[in-house]
């Protein structure tokens, strides 16, 4: 129970998740500055937590708090009428996703990712960009773990088939 008197775990958490969370919040909010505010608030709240109480669910805790705070910000700014529903939550990603991905020189696979339904894009990001487990993603998004597994598999199948079709085309030409 030494962790209550030791802040190094917070420093370690900051080190490890800062960039991930800024990315995630930016993606939701479409605005890097507000995203940083949200991430700062997330970590300030973490300082009020006790490491042992997180029971090893640090990443899940951070992403959930960061997501909820991001939605709060959006709600305050009246950009969104409904929260809590995963489908509706997905809707807010439309603009920022497009913006971010246009900036990057999009590779083929990301181009296909961009065509996926919003709810699939979110779980794909959480899984492959932020390396979270099905269970963690389920807790963060409010979906069931089975549902998360289904969404990811469906997305992967779409990508797999698109890539196969492409390599087949490449071989012919």
């Amino acid at each position: 129970m030494e962790d209550a008197t030791n802040s190094t775990w917070i420093v370690a958490a900051l080190e490890r998740y800062e960039s991930h969370l800024v990315h995630y919040a930016t993606w939701i909010l479409g605005d890097a500055e507000r995203a940083r505010e949200v991430v700062q608030e997330t970590f300030l709240r973490l300082c009020r937590e006790k490491e042992s109480r997180l029971g090893g669910h640090l990443a899940q805790w951070l992403f959930t708090v960061c997501r909820n705070l991001s939605f709060d910000v959006r709600k305050k700014e009246n950009r969104m009428s409904l929260i809590g529903d995963a489908e509706a939550a997905g809707a807010v990603y439309e603009r920022p996703l497009a913006a971010i991905e246009r900036e990057q020189a999009m590779t083929e696979i990301l181009r296909i990712v961009a065509t996926l339904p919003k709810n699939q894009r979110e779980v794909i990001r959480l899984k492959f960009e932020h390396d979270l487990s099905y269970k963690e993603i389920a807790a963060i998004t409010g979906l069931s773990a089975t549902n998360v597994g289904f969404l990811i598999h469906t997305a992967i199948q779409t990508l797999r088939k698109a890539l196969l079709a492409q390599s087949a085309k490449g071989r012919i030409s």
């Binding site: 129970m1 209550a4 008197t5 030791n6 802040s7 917070i10 420093v11 900051l14 490890r16 800062e18 960039s19 800024v22 990315h23 930016t26 890097a32 940083r36 991430v39 700062q40 970590f43 300030l44 709240r45 300082c47 009020r48 937590e49 006790k50 042992s52 109480r53 997180l54 029971g55 090893g56 669910h57 899940q60 805790w61 959930t64 708090v65 909820n68 590779t107 696979i109 990301l110 990712v113 794909i124 990001r125 492959f128 960009e129 487990s133 099905y134 807790a139 963060i140 089975t146 597994g149 289904f150 990811i152 598999h153 469906t154 992967i156 199948q157 990508l159 797999r160 890539l163 196969l164």
Partner: protein
């Protein structure tokens, strides 16, 4: 079986999201369906590409002002720990608090006992009852004022100390010098019941040492059980640690084919060490922690069973040092079978998935000729690595020696100081061209091991005839050896134990036990037959011994005949000239034995010594910890399979009963699998009257 590519389980399988049962089912289907394997490979390739593309981009960070604010808040939190205790106490919940109050007022000893019954590893109320930290907790922000200082469940009411389990206590080092004795006992008259016991202190080194098999003798393949040794003849037991587990996987293969394994394929220490036990990792500066527990032996209740556990320090995998891995792969014709090269390729992909940009991987193949098929490549180039693995094909005869040379040269050329430098040899052990003389091959490996490059040997698809070669190579090469028969085993050896298998934290770990003649009549080391060392090798830093990886644990069992219990089969007459010899005062300390360890830091050539005395508290078998009972069941199973003269009154049914009731947490399901194996052995034994093999 028709494979359904739209089943989400395939993606879940690739991402490691299936539970053990689902995973086993999926792997079974994979083994039988080429279509399924293709789907899984494609999914894996897709997920690897996604990971690479979506990998964290630089540049997204907080401003330094924002970060400073967080660090200041973290420091402030550090200064008011009391507040957090209160908060902690509250979040346990009102109900729990009430229960604790009642229990605490009734009887604290009762609570303590019930905690102990819950098994070692419980560190107290807080861990045990704290909620899982689900994000729902954020609704609670700001609701906690420092008003609950008198809260009944605050640490005052319930002792805060860890509920130390006397049965599995952590032994405290008494001294770090080899010459000083354990805690001084009052000097008094010589034990009146000394009988024919002689003084172990006066023993002239090796003058009367029994003729034991030496470490790494040529009599490797034939295992003869260690016999009881009278303390009067030799109070010292010296052996090297062994973290290998290949024997268990091998005998599982036999039992799964409804055959009892050949006797000599059963190495009891490798069976016992296959399982994880609840040893807490070391907290001090030493890389290993030591545990001892003593209770009655289930197969012979008048004997005592001593379980000695050593735990290597855990290494956070994300902080694991960079790896310089050279795969050395046997692609000879004999590797073509489905359970060899194809399984190896799937296994390698599991490992590659876990590597990072800091790691370097190279692949060398050997058959009639040897060659590099992948020059050292960064671990984040997942698709390049996966493609190189996919291209591996078998054909030709096996020239192991040339490949070993090339692999070590590659590893040395890319040596990372302070990193994990390792050659991973994957083979069925069928060397038939080039240096086939085992002696030359082991000498070659031994020579190469001096370069600081460690060796992992992965055995594939063989009977037990070749595993002596492979175990020997691993021993000589400062390495470890695992037998891979399924993808599940591959995951255990390569992924779950990535830190352990690949990162050595202590090398040449030797154990020497001194038994106290005032307490012990005779003793027997269970298993470790080919790990026995000469006593003088213990202090000889030039003598090689087993290595421990991060998080590895080693368990050794001794069967002890206490004073007053006669040894049933005594082949040696009592000594004529040494009866009623003097016992030194320390023999009355109440200690049963003294454990001494030597180990070296991975890059050091001088060893450190640790010493721990252990006292028998006369625990009955049923009062021992679940880990103890389970380890005893595994050892007993091994002795029955080996038809050991020391198996005592134990039966497979008794083993089944003990193992079934001592599964503990068993998160990975390994103990459950053991219980199933014992059931198979029982069916094997009853279905076929003639011994083995049975069908």
């Amino acid at each position: 079986m028709k494979t359904n590519p739209d089943d989400p389980k395939w993606t879940a399988y690739v991402l490691g999201e299936l539970n053990d049962a689902e995973c086993a089912a999926a792997e079974k289907e994979l083994e039988s369906s080429a279509e399924a394997r293709e789907i899984v490979d494609e999914i894996r390739a897709t997920t690897m590409m996604l990971k690479e593309e979506l990998a964290r981009k630089e540049g997204a960070a907080l401003t330094s002002t924002e970060r400073q604010a967080i660090l200041a808040a973290a420091r402030a939190a550090q200064k008011s720990p009391a507040w957090y205790h209160v908060r902690q106490a509250f979040t346990v919940g009102a109900l729990a608090a009430t229960v604790l109050l009642v229990v605490a007022t009734l009887s604290i000893p009762t609570l303590l006992r019930s905690r102990q019954a819950a098994g070692p590893g419980h560190t107290g109320v807080m861990t045990a009852s704290a909620p899982t930290g689900r994000p729902a907790a954020q609704a609670e922000f700001g609701h906690y004022e420092p008003r609950g200082v008198q809260d009944p469940s605050s640490p005052k009411a319930v002792p805060q100390n860890e509920f130390a389990d006397p049965a599995l206590r952590k032994a405290e080092p008494s001294s770090s010098s080899s010459s000083s004795s354990p805690s001084p006992a009052p000097a008094g008259p010589i034990a009146e019941t000394a009988g024919f016991l002689n003084s172990f202190v006066a023993r002239a080194p090796s003058a009367d040492a029994p003729d034991r098999p030496r470490f790494n003798t040529e009599a490797y393949d034939f295992i003869s059980d260690n016999n009881f040794i009278r303390v009067s003849r030799d109070p010292l037991a010296t052996f090297s640690v062994d973290v290998d587990t290949a024997s268990y996987a091998n005998l599982r293969r036999f039992l799964n084919m409804n055959q009892l394994p050949p006797k000599d394929a059963v190495r009891i220490e490798e069976m016992v060490n296959y399982f994880t036990y609840d040893y807490a990792p070391p907290t001090g500066s030493d890389p290993i922690a030591t545990y001892a527990e003593i209770a009655a032996a289930p197969w012979k209740p008048e004997h005592r069973l001593v379980r000695i556990g050593i735990k290597g320090k855990e290494v956070d995998l994300s902080k694991r040092p960079p790896g310089n891995l050279v795969f050395l792969i046997d692609v000879s014709g004999s590797m073509a079978d489905a359970e060899k090269l194809p399984l190896l390729k799937s296994s390698m992909k599991l490992l590659i998935d876990k590597l990072t940009e800091n790691d370097r991987v190279a692949i060398v193949v050997y058959a009639g000729a040897s060659g590099m098929v992948l020059p050292p490549t960064s671990g984040d180039k997942k698709s390049v690595l996966a493609q190189a693995v996919d291209r591996l094909e078998s054909g030709g005869s096996t020239n192991g020696a040339a490949g070993i040379q090339l692999a070590y040269d590659t590893a040395v050329a890319n040596f990372i100081r302070g990193g994990i430098n390792r050659v991973i040899l994957a083979t069925d052990g069928d060397f038939n061209v080039g240096v086939t003389n085992q002696g030359d091959l082991t000498r070659l490996i031994e020579e190469k091991a001096k370069s600081g490059v460690f060796l992992t040997v992965l055995g594939f698809g063989m009977g037990n005839y070749k595993d002596s070669t492979l175990e020997k190579l691993a021993d000589k090469g400062n390495g470890n050896y695992a037998y891979i028969d399924t993808l599940k085993e591959a995951r255990k050896a390569l992924v779950e134990e990535l830190g352990g298998a690949l990162m050595t934290i202590a090398k040449d770990v030797k154990i020497q036990i001194e038994f106290n003649p005032a307490q012990v009549n005779a003793y027997r080391l269970i298993g470790y037959e080919n790990r026995v060392l000469r006593h003088e090798d213990f202090n000889d830093d030039k003598k090689d011994a087993g290595d421990m990886g991060a998080g590895h644990s080693v368990t050794a069992l001794f069967e002890v005949v206490p004073r007053g219990v006669e040894l049933e089969t005594s082949s040696v007459d009592p000594l004529k000239y040494q009866q009623a010899s003097q016992a030194v005062p320390q023999s009355r300390s109440g200690e049963m034995l003294n454990i001494k360890f030597r180990y070296k830091e991975p890059e050091s050539s001088t060893s450190r010594l640790l010493e721990y005395p252990v006292v028998d508290r006369y625990t009955g078998f049923n009062d021992a910890s679940a880990d103890f009972r389970f380890a005893a069941a595994v050892a007993s199973f091994g002795m029955i399979l080996r038809d050991s003269p020391h198996k005592g009154q134990s039966t497979l049914d008794a083993v089944l009963q003990i193992a079934d009731r001592s599964r503990g947490a068993d998160r990975a399901g390994y103990r459950d699998e053991f219980v199933q194996l014992v059931r198979k052995a029982i069916r094997c034994q009853t279905s076929a009257a003639p011994e083995r093999p049975c069908r």
